[in-house]
């Protein structure tokens, strides 16, 4: 897969975070980006579009990121979901790992970390 062919879904209730992540991805060469504003929307959009990678916040209205991760992985056990949260507590980390998160990023997210994740995804 070429980097320009990758589709990424950004799920965060903050438009600031979605914008910053989209800018980082764009600089890497990824422009196929889908936005979701909460966990519920993320699950619905994932089922319809099946993006190659998801960046998922944890604290969100309607459905938390952990709940959305569980549903997405239940629908697609190969789904690659990166949890990106300010709340990188042991409890959330354990929950994310148990539910099969691809990675866990502590916010504020750094571009080098996003690049590493894309590289890891391409290698796999």
């Amino acid at each position: 897969m070429k980097i320009s062919e990758i589709t990424v879904m950004l799920c965060d209730d903050s438009p600031l975070i979605r914008k910053k992540l989209a800018e980082m991805l764009s600089r890497i060469g990824i422009t196929n980006i889908i936005n979701a504003e909460d966990g519920e929307q993320a699950v619905d959009i994932y089922k319809e579009k099946k993006p190659d990678l998801v960046f998922m916040d944890i604290v969100m209205p309607r459905k938390t990121g952990i709940e959305a991760l569980r549903e997405i992985r239940g629908f697609d056990s190969e789904a690659r979901v990166v949890m990106a949260s300010t709340v990188g507590t042991q409890g959330n980390l354990i929950a994310a790992i148990k539910e099969g998160a691809f990675e866990f990023l502590q916010k504020p997210v750094k571009e080098e970390d996003v690049l590493k994740i894309i590289n890891r995804m391409l290698k796999e």
């Binding site: 209730d13 903050s14 438009p15 600031l16 975070i17 604290v59 969100m60 209205p61 949260s85 300010t86 709340v87 990188g88 507590t89 042991q90 409890g91 980390l93 354990i94 790992i97 148990k98 990675e103 866990f104 990023l105 502590q106 916010k107 504020p108 970390d113 590493k116 994740i117």
Partner: protein
């Protein structure tokens, strides 16, 4: 990645693999750190000295602390201090990995040293305690219930302001037992055994100013995007506070989604606190109230 979290530092450093980390994280709730791991973490003993005490325990029916004191590795006071640190999350994780045989005491010592060096963590509690005591005096909350919570929370808030917005602000005042108002604000609740209502806001200029600084953009109106930026700053503060509490005390906090509020009037009770700060562009305020 997995920044500030020791377990994931170990994973990323190649000291352990994902299965080992998963096993140790799952086992953490059932164990507490032993004195040896705590002594390494505190810098009181080397891994070699810990092993020496373990060897001695095979032949003498004595506790780790007693033998370490006899050998001159620890003082009685250090043993008491270590006993209170046994719930530290990094220590418990290290202990689980040692217990499973995934790493040795020596590997734990080396990894912890590198981790602290990499993330510039304050080694030992004295410096941190000194800052907290200063904050208690500045805020005038000595004798107040939950004073340590308030001191830690506001100290972190100030650090985050410096880190993400800049250091061109001053502490303008502290309010308790009074009614305060903000033109624009964002609210979020954090919950462990107790629940706290946190409000970050200010005058229009202050509110828009911190949003613009945090986003690194030219913002001029308190519109939905501006409110989302302040909401994210508040979320970052509370998230980092929750991470610290999880790592240092084993306390897990849940955060609610942030909500914006315009023309907010609120009462700060006796057991709450409000701190106002003046930036060059305007005034902001943070209020923390126990629910």
């Amino acid at each position: 990645m997995y920044t500030q979290l020791f377990g994931h530092y170990l994973l990323n450093s190649g000291v352990i693999d994902a299965d080992e980390l998963h096993a140790a994280l799952t086992a953490m709730s059932r164990i507490k750190a032993k004195l040896g791991a705590a002594a390494i973490d505190a810098g009181y003993m080397t891994a070699e000295q810990v092993e020496e005490v373990h060897e001695a325990q095979h032949t003498v029916d004595k506790r780790f602390g007693d033998i370490a004191v006899e050998k001159g590795f620890l003082t009685e006071e250090q043993v008491r201090s270590l006993l209170s640190r046994q719930k530290n999350a990094n220590l418990v994780l290290g202990q689980a990995l040692i217990d499973f045989g995934f790493i040795t005491n020596k590997q734990f010592e080396d990894a912890l040293f590198d981790y602290k060096k990499k993330f510039s963590l304050i080694d030992g509690e004295s410096e941190e305690e000194r800052l907290e005591n200063e904050m208690i005096q500045i805020l005038g909350i000595d004798g107040m219930e939950d004073r340590d919570f308030y001191a830690e929370y506001i100290l972190l808030f100030i650090r985050n302001l410096i880190r993400f917005l800049g250091d061109d602000f001053s502490l303008a005042g502290v309010a308790k037992n009074s009614t305060i108002s903000m033109n624009y604000a964002c609210c979020q609740d954090i919950k462990s055994d107790a629940e706290w209502h946190i409000v970050l806001g200010g005058t229009e200029r202050g509110f828009v100013g911190i949003a613009a600084r945090y986003a690194g953009e030219n913002l001029s109106e308190p519109d939905d995007y501006t409110k989302a930026c302040v909401g994210e700053l508040l979320n970052l503060q509370n998230g980092l506070f929750a991470v610290n509490e999880s790592n240092n005390r084993g306390v897990e906090y849940e955060l609610s989604p942030q909500t914006p509020e315009d023309n907010l009037m609120m009462t700060v009770p006796e057991n709450g606190i409000s701190v106002s700060l003046s930036f060059s562009f305007g005034d902001i305020r943070i209020a923390v109230v126990k629910k």
